[in-house]
């Protein structure tokens, strides 16, 4: 492969990955041809690395850092559920206004399911992570509490 192209392809990877693997990966690319399959393979792998960083070898981030803890599924799922619930409420208000309805509709039921459904996940997260990384777990729990309050705020504000 052309050295200029190899160097350009390396730039697609995150900086931390390049610092660890850049030189040896570039040497490997120089041994490969510069065909479309190679290009596509490297572009795809670089995109995957950006979406889901490997953090391999010496790139290890502290597994108990806030960034690492908040990426845990048990931390992300309640956040996603709260934000989905908020989106449902806001979407409902945008489409139908904020007049209180006598009968609870599908949006209300979805909101209730999302809010109640995240409680076991929150409990699991708290039990697992408060022991391992108390400060980081409390920060994540505060973030989750903020998301819960944000999704509850329009419901109580508009008395839905």
């Amino acid at each position: 492969m052309n050295p200029g192209l190899a160097h350009l392809l390396i730039r697609l990877y995150p900086r931390r990955w390049r610092e660890r693997y850049g030189a040896e990966f570039e040497a490997l690319l120089l041994d490969c041809d510069g065909g479309n399959r190679t290009l596509l393979n490297v572009v795809w792998s670089a995109a995957c690395e950006r979406i889901s960083p490997t953090q391999g070898g010496n790139m290890d981030r502290d597994p108990l850092s806030f960034g690492a803890v908040v990426r845990r599924p048990s931390a992300l799922i309640p956040l996603a559920m709260s934000l989905t619930a908020l989106a449902i409420v806001m979407g409902h208000i945008a489409m139908y206004g904020h007049a209180r309805e006598a009968d609870e509709g599908a949006a209300a039921h979805l909101w209730q399911i999302l809010m109640a459904g995240q409680l076991p996940v929150l409990a699991f997260f708290a039990i697992k992570w408060l022991r391992r990384a108390p400060r980081q777990a409390l920060e994540v729990l505060a973030l989750q509490a903020g998301a819960v309050l944000a999704s509850m705020a329009p419901v109580f504000y508009f008395n839905l």
């Binding site: 040896e24 490997l28 399959r37 393979n41 953090q55």
Partner: protein, 119 residues
């Protein structure tokens, strides 16, 4: 040179890519471990060895995705670089994992082939 690639995420494994030839096995981390079980190698030597081993030619991006994840798990480790190429070797944990995985695959293939016999 680098042709007929397997291009995939290295998080989940064991699925033939569309277009890949039938019978080609594509589990990049396992292929890398199997290659390194034969001795330390750098990236290009691994690609060649894996192609000899099972006919699958890993793309350079796929290979380094697998290497990074295996290194993170402590199943392979880097050796001092030779010019710009860095060889890797399998660790004791990597060997244990590889052996367990291959035994499972062996049992799986035996039972699968037995079931195919009457067909």
């Amino acid at each position: 040179m680098c042709d007929n690639y397997v291009m995939r995420s290295t998080r989940n494994v064991v699925e033939a890519e569309p277009g890949a030839e039938m019978g080609h096995y594509s589990d990049p981390p396992l292929l890398v471990l199997a290659s390194l079980a034969g001795g330390p190698k750098h990236g290009h030597a691994m690609i060649e060895d894996i192609e000899l081993l099972c006919g699958t030619r890993l793309g350079p991006g796929t290979l380094y995705g697998a290497i990074a994840r295996l290194e993170q798990q402590g199943w392979i480790e880097p050796l001092p670089p030779e010019e710009r190429r860095r060889p890797y070797r399998i660790t004791a944990d990597g060997l244990r994992f590889l052996r367990a995985k291959l035994i499972t695959l062996h049992q799986f293939s035996e039972v699968g082939l037995q079931r195919l016999e009457p067909l």
